[in-house]
Symmetry: C2
Subunit: 350 residues, 2 copies
DNA sequence: CTGTTAGCGCTTTCAG
DNA sequence: CTGAAAGCGCTAACAG
């Protein structure tokens, strides 16, 4: 492997001149610049990443920390990862994948002390996230895909859950649905303060009140089995339900089964909307699901960009943005055809 | 950040002694060892990754190259990635994700020249893969998840497609199915020489002949729409079909629709087995799919281990292994109930 | 506009 | 068993 010295000799200049030419840190006459770059590709020279990083105190490596969550990663997370990696590369950075099973801040502290990465991207952020506290405390650059309760001084990009839930409820309400359920992810994620679960839980309540419809909420583990059980129980308790909003992709097959068991058909007798999901997911089911698609690629891209911005800029320009999910109406939702049994009862009562 | 010199001073030893204590490269008296390690964690010392890498000429970073393929990444690929990252970390390595859109060997050459990574893991390997040729040529360490036609001198781990296809066909044949179709991935992937597509195409032919049943093969793009069209056409052409084997997950919803359109039910009137798939995938569909699950985690793990082995060992110990998919019978396959219409015709003819 | 040189924090000879 | 010192390949003062 040729080194910078080889290039310098071949171009007949000093080693430092090559460095300056490469980094554009200093004006170089067009003529010598030419000679230098000519020498470079005659030799097939590539700057040594580690040496450069050591000398400049910037590795140009960033890390994406992904905890292996209870529900496992899905298409959305996969897209974060690939799009963050793409974005990093486009900006001359490399993206390290750092599997951090827990939210343990100690392992993270060790990691930051190695001088391997210039900054980290966090995902699966909790409202009170120890990792964020740590990073803030030690002043290590980071960005969030997600956000915690205290937003002060953090660069983040997150889904606009409020808008997403509201749009979905309004959509169903406009179709005539008056009794709408929300099937969230698990209670334990809620208790742990996992952002999306806590936020949608609250937003749904607001949204149904604003829309003037009845709403009921349930937590549910991320399995078809749990979906079946939880939703069956829910339907028994509230036979008036004509629509379900869920953020629990993996429970969906169970939900659909529970609906089918009642002899109902989707979307004729029951509407289903999966929020924060993806086209990939939607197209797997029959009928294709109406979803609000998570802006997964944008989240990954922005997560990386926000971090890189901090690393490049001297001013601590933090940025915060909320991205909406896009409602895509497919085959699992439609007008409310069943009158709520409450009405029926009133009629019968008359 | 404390450096090695700080540790040395605090422990009252030479800098180099600290280094030897850390790497175990040289015997150190228990007493000084104690002092050194005490000093280390009093200072919260962590060795600087870049400095260490520069001096030792080994970065302890490896890269996973993942091309964004036509069909997009799925759960299986996601599991490669996470399990490769896990494995790397367990062995003291970091895993860089290198998005390489194409199989362009030039970008790869540049990448290897940067001294950033000690070796690379390739996935989505083609039978004649330019990247492999390049790496072999320049003697850069690599391992494959997949394999090419010429296996000489390559460490790889791949799925045992032959075994997988054979087991699937035998399973269906034992259930009484005599007319079995195989829906592969796209023609263009076949033409490009993408390993899994080419290998299963050949294996299926062998397997049906060995089982003494009729087989027919089709390529299909990775969309439900394409699945629907291709399979409808196939059913029209061969009404005797009672079972389908497919390696095309994304086409499955279309296939099921096509079956339903015929008024057939799965698994009573038609059996469906998805090979090289996953439980995650299977549980999304109704009925849950019979699949052969790809050993995704093992592939990722071994891919990383094979590479790391090469990096650690002085002898070029290459290793090659083929992992079977595991047949998991769920709800989409069962005994053949329909007699082939060929027989019916014979009866009618009598 | 260009050259010289002192590190970056560590590994690894070479010498005791 | 331990120290001293020469780099690894580059960046960034400092000096023209």
């Amino acid at each position: 492997m040729p080194t910078m010295l080889d290039v310098a000799r071949r171009a007949g200049v000093a080693l430092s001149t090559v460095s300056y030419a490469l980094n554009g840190t200093r004006p170089i006459s067009e003529e010598t610049r030419q000679r230098i770059f000519a020498a470079m590709d005659e030799l097939g020279y590539r700057p040594h990443a580690l040496a450069r990083g050591l000398a400049s105190r910037r590795s140009r490596i960033i890390a994406l920390l992904f905890p292996v969550s209870e529900r496992g990663l899905g298409f959305t997370e996969l897209e974060f990862v690939t799009s963050a990696a793409d974005t990093a590369r486009e900006n001359g950075y490399s993206l390290i994948l750092w599997p951090s099973e827990t939210h343990d801040p100690n392992a993270l502290r060790q990691f930051t002390r190695q001088g391997l990465v210039d900054g980290v991207i966090l995902m699966e952020v909790h409202l009170h996230d120890e990792r964020v506290n740590l990073l803030r405390e030690i002043g290590f650059p980071f960005s969030l895909i997600g956000r915690c309760a205290d937003l002060a001084g953090t660069s983040y990009v997150d889904i606009d859950f409020e808008q997403t839930v509201k749009e979905t409820v309004d959509y169903l309400s406009a179709l005539g649905h008056t009794h709408i359920a929300f099937l969230n992810q698990s209670q334990s994620l809620f208790d742990a303060g996992y952002g999306p679960v806590v936020r949608t839980h609250a937003c749904f309540e607001q949204a149904v009140q604003l829309a003037g419809v009845k709403g009921i909420r349930r937590f549910c583990r991320a399995t078809p089995q749990a979906g079946y059980e939880t939703f069956s129980e829910l339907l028994t308790k509230c036979p008036d339900l004509t629509a379900l909003v869920t953020m629990n992709e993996r429970a969906v097959p169970g939900v659909m089964q529970a609906v089918a068991d009642r002899g109902w058909r989707i979307p004729d007798d029951f509407s289903l909307v999966v929020i924060v999901s993806s086209a990939r997911m939607a197209e797997m089911m029959t009928p294709p699901l109406t979803t609000t698609d998570a802006p997964a690629a944008e989240l990954g891209r922005l997560g990386a960009e926000l971090l890189i911005q901090q690393l490049e800029a001297q001013e601590q320009g933090i940025q915060q943005s909320l991205l909406p999910c896009r409602l895509v109406v497919r085959g699992s939702s439609g007008p409310c055809r069943r009158a709520p049994s409450l009405d029926l009862r009133e009629v019968q009562g008359t």
